[in-house]
Symmetry: C2
Subunit: 211 residues, 2 copies
DNA sequence: CTGCTTATAAGGCAAGTGTCCAATAAGCGG
DNA sequence: CCGCTTATTGGACACTTGCCTTATAAGCAG
């Protein structure tokens, strides 16, 4: 039993479509961020979570950092697509569209501890990293534009009088309410239940844009 | 020049008062969190930033994690003390007191990228770590209580009519506005200048609590 | 000036990480 | 059924980290 260099490898794993594997890794990254925080989210740990060998990360992403960045991009893209899909088809009833937007923001899918936890990490990165900042900036612009569009529908349809505050201020405030409640929802899940967040947003919108 | 085991150590460093050194390390922690993110904030890096040997951390804190926690505690304590000192002495003029509170929240001292960046990390930790959650919870309660006190002064002094919304809702909204603007201020420093944040808070308060 | 306390430095060690790389087989086209 | 592409594995390496320990000297009491 001195030398047995044989039968060492065991690539039993089924071969997955490259696209599916990539998504596995992206999802595992979010999960790791939420479970272990940014400190514990290492390339090897992500692979462990995804159930693949640590060598595979390199095969799909140039390095763990890039994986993190792409996770951010993917998350932004998905969230924006979802929000647009939910609110835009209801342009005929602007108040309803806005309400649906709020519901989506606080939905299980986008206000889960996992997602918000990951989001906080990305915000953090955006301060010190150029590439993360670009993604963040782009997302903010697009999200703000969507919100603005919904609000403009309100006044354009003459369903609401011109706001008391300058339009830009009113939108900034509504946006702040959304962000603030979103964070708070994350911080302690029992304090402000989902339905109340939505109700508060509705109230704020009515206050800002209705008589 | 074969064997020179002599003259290796060089504890040239001046001896600092234990309290000052502790504060050095706490400050270095905040700085590291902002500069390198949670991932790069290691015990050794903090010591490097503080200009001391890596062995010293152990002498003041049981481990890097504990240092992080104490940094959080210190930050919370300082911020609450500051906010109270700024707003409470002006109970005679409730609107003014509230305004001073807003100004303090967005002051250079408490809305700096360093502070908010560190804060995001602590929020993240609060989800997965019991001890961080306790600090976070305690801070939220006290901060909320302070804000509530300021608002109650408003109505108690009959300087404002009873709010349109239930009191609890109005306070929740105002708090959300504060948090939301605070974060946004962090995310891109050129978008929403400090003065505008304060003005928006004032506007929100007037809207919620004045006729 | 001497000696004690203790703040400080720095080395060693095990564990974990990122990067690179060679070996292996899974699944498809022929 | 065979052979090529490539998804996948797992090891090697240098490096960093956290933890512990010992050696040193800074500053104060006497």
């Amino acid at each position: 039993m001195a030398s047995l260099p044989e039968q060492v490898r065991k690539p039993r794993a089924r071969r997955a479509s490259p696209l599916a594997r990539r998504e596995d890794l992206l999802a595992a990254t979010v999960s790791c961020l939420a479970r272990l925080g940014p400190h514990g989210t290492t390339g090897r740990e992500i692979c462990r979570q995804a159930g693949v060998s640590h060598g595979l990360l390199r095969h799909y992403f140039s390095n763990p950092d890039k994986l993190l960045l792409e996770t951010y991009e993917q998350l932004c893209e998905d969230m924006l697509a979802h929000l647009e899909a939910v609110a835009l088809p209801f342009a005929a009833n602007p108040w309803d569209a806005l309400h649906r937007y709020f519901v989506a923001v606080f939905s299980d899918e986008w206000a889960s501890p996992e997602i918000i936890g990951a989001w906080l990490v990305f915000w953090q990165q955006a301060r010190s990293r150029e590439d993360f900042a670009a993604v963040s900036h782009d997302f903010n612009l697009r999200q703000r534009a969507l919100l603005e569009q919904l609000v403009v529908q309100l006044t354009a349809a003459a369903m609401a009088p011109p706001p008391i505050l300058p339009m830009a201020d009113a939108i900034a405030l509504l946006s702040a309410v959304l962000d603030g409640l979103w964070i708070e929802y994350y911080l302690c899940d029992d304090r402000t239940p989902r339905a109340r967040c939505v109700a508060l947003c509705d109230a704020a919108a009515r206050m800002l844009f209705a008589a």
